[in-house]
Symmetry: C2
Subunit: 197 residues, 2 copies
Amino acid sequence: MNEITKRQKDYLNAAIGLVSERGFSKLTFRNIAQEVGVTEASVYRHFSNKLDLLRALLKDLEESIAPHFEKLVDTSIPPKERLEQLIKGLFCAFEKNSAHTSIIFSEEAFHSEEELRNDLKSISERNISFLSSFYKDLQENQLCRSDIDSKELALVTLGSIKLTVTRWRICEKNLGLEDAVSNLINTHSVLFNLRNE
Amino acid sequence: MNEITKRQKDYLNAAIGLVSERGFSKLTFRNIAQEVGVTEASVYRHFSNKLDLLRALLKDLEESIAPHFEKLVDTSIPPKERLEQLIKGLFCAFEKNSAHTSIIFSEEAFHSEEELRNDLKSISERNISFLSSFYKDLQENQLCRSDIDSKELALVTLGSIKLTVTRWRICEKNLGLEDAVSNLINTHSVLFNLRNE
DNA sequence: TTAAAGTAAGTTATCGTTAACTAACATATT
DNA sequence: AATATGTTAGTTAACGATAACTTACTTTAA
């Protein structure tokens, strides 16, 4: 609910780095404190408990990802470019902090906390709905195949993005992310018969 | 390496149930022991440490999933049916034990253990390669669109399957898995222009 | 009778969390 | 200007719970 303070943001950045580099299981008050250079108890000055911290973390990550999906409905840009910008934007964010993928894409992480699980669900459904209305608009303007429901197209796109990121993470960044992105865009163009006009 | 004993299998089943119902973080020696009805130390009679247990768990899950992918190359069955059987088979396995999804699909769970991360990677690549050669064969027989590389098609399919399972899990099984399956198959038929002959 | 399976009772380490207290600074009152 | 009050961000030290893991002893079954 409340706005985040500058100092809280410091702690959150430490948390994000921790998840990115050492995994979700290493996200502890001790480790965050160590990263920031303070004591464990000090973290409690800014987050009253772990749920509170996770809530803030999820919100912070959502705010860094949502804009990419929102841009999908900006009709001043050619549709294929919009999709390209979404994919590139997301992958760029993921490259900077793979915590984004760990958290945004991992329902497992929040298995125990129903509230956070629901938050994660909302974020995911919102992203799907942006993608879906993007495709619906294209279909209505004959810029995309319309023999498949726009929501199904959205699910295919999101699934591909998630899988690509997952594989890229697991391969320890061996395979080029750039190539993966252009493959993704090309595959979508052909498969969905995307046109700019 | 070694074959698994009957008693070990009991413990693994308990472990799978645990992950399915209470999440990966609740997979502890204490909880496994409690499920089986023995003492914590007893579990150590069968698995020398946690890495050993996770190794066995991963192998066990792989053995229950691999056959579904292997059936893809059985040319005695019409191709569309083969794909349908893969998807249905996987979803059926996931419905019985959602641990399969937590583990097979979650790179996060094994973030800290490089050995297991590599195992997971191998399993994933193997599955992709089965799907890929399935599509390649179809393409060579003009039973599938061939303007996109078979591996890209495989990635789209796997991504869709994973996303569908994830969403189904997160929604607490509210939305029907049956519908999701038939949607998936239909979307693939149309999108990939799949034919039986 | 001997090897496999189980137990009780510990170890050490780390987790989230709290309590009691301090130093530095801003604001308000006299 | 000087004093009083409040806030912010930090400290040390401990709490109970739980994790992985060990040792020494007992039961059970081929």
